[in-house]
């Protein structure tokens, strides 16, 4: 698995939590939004989004409900209070990680010689 794939895999949950913090969305909408907002960087095997969503629902971070909108029946996911809390914790952790990594890699003269 490439580094990009590993990073993507590790960040899928926080990306989903972040999107659903705005409004309820259905699976296809989530995959499209991830792709659109990251310019394709967070594009993934779309099917693998569903096991992640269901796992997150099992952890009570998400709730789901079938809704009919404009004649189409879709399963909408919403963030629960527990999910919002997890989003806060994970966002704080990721920010620390990114800051530390950026500070660590700041001196690039070692590999640009």
């Amino acid at each position: 698995m490439s580094l990009r794939d590993q990073i993507r895999k590790g960040s899928t949950e926080i990306l989903i939590l972040r999107l659903l913090a705005e409004r309820p969305m259905y699976g296809y909408e989530i995959s499209q939004e991830l792709e659109r907002r990251s310019g394709g960087y967070f594009e993934m095997k779309e099917g693998l989004l569903y096991p992640t969503l269901h796992r997150m629902q099992k952890s009570d971070w998400l709730a789901s409900e079938w809704q009919e909108v404009e004649g189409r029946r879709r399963k909408y996911y919403t963030l629960t209070a527990a999910g919002r809390e997890v989003l806060g914790e994970q966002a704080a952790e990721w920010n620390v990680f990114v800051d530390k990594l950026r500070a660590f890699l700041k001196t690039n003269e070692l590999w640009t010689k």
Partner: protein, 162 residues
């Protein structure tokens, strides 16, 4: 070349699923809407429907998703099954304890029916599975079965004694 349909794609995913009919139906319904949306988007952008479906299926990762979904849901159902079985057994044991005095003497079914403890346990035993379990029909079946056993083993000897 034969035309590929969404049903054929779903059948490939279904091969990996060994869950309750209810769960499988819901999972496949969700995937169906995803594929239909993806195809509709591509057709709107001028793509051929058949090509769009093949691309959507490839992007979806048909072979991986079935196994992943099975892994996520199978554990969930096992926990449910254990809980569904364990709770009624626990309640049956409590009811038996309520029906029989610690010295082993039987209360008699008339005395049992006016005991608040009996009714509290009975109502809790009824409500908990409904609130706890998503698959309420399974819960109801388990609940009914163990209540039947409770009635047979607790009330029947009391009636005979009376």
């Amino acid at each position: 070349m034969d035309k590929v349909t969404i049903d054929q794609v779903l059948a490939k995913i279904r091969k990996h699923l060994h869950l309750s009919k209810e769960t499988e139906y819901e999972l496949l319904a969700e995937i169906r809407t995803h594929l239909e949306d993806a195809v509709a988007d591509a057709v709107r952008k001028g793509e051929d429907e058949q090509v769009a479906l093949l691309k959507a299926a490839q992007k979806f990762g048909v072979d991986e998703v079935g196994a992943e979904l099975q892994e996520v849901h199978v554990g969930w159902e096992s926990v449910d099954a254990i809980m569904v079985s364990a709770l009624p057994v626990l309640f049956a044991v409590i009811l038996r304890w309520l029906a029989y005095a610690p010295d082993g003497s039987t209360l008699g079914w008339q005395a049992l029916l006016v005991r608040p403890g009996f009714w509290i346990v009975a109502v809790v035993a009824l409500i908990v599975p409904f609130l706890q379990f998503r698959r309420w029909r399974f819960a109801l079946l388990g609940w009914g079965f163990f209540w039947l056993l409770t009635i047979i083993f607790v009330v029947y000897p009391s009636i005979n004694h009376w």
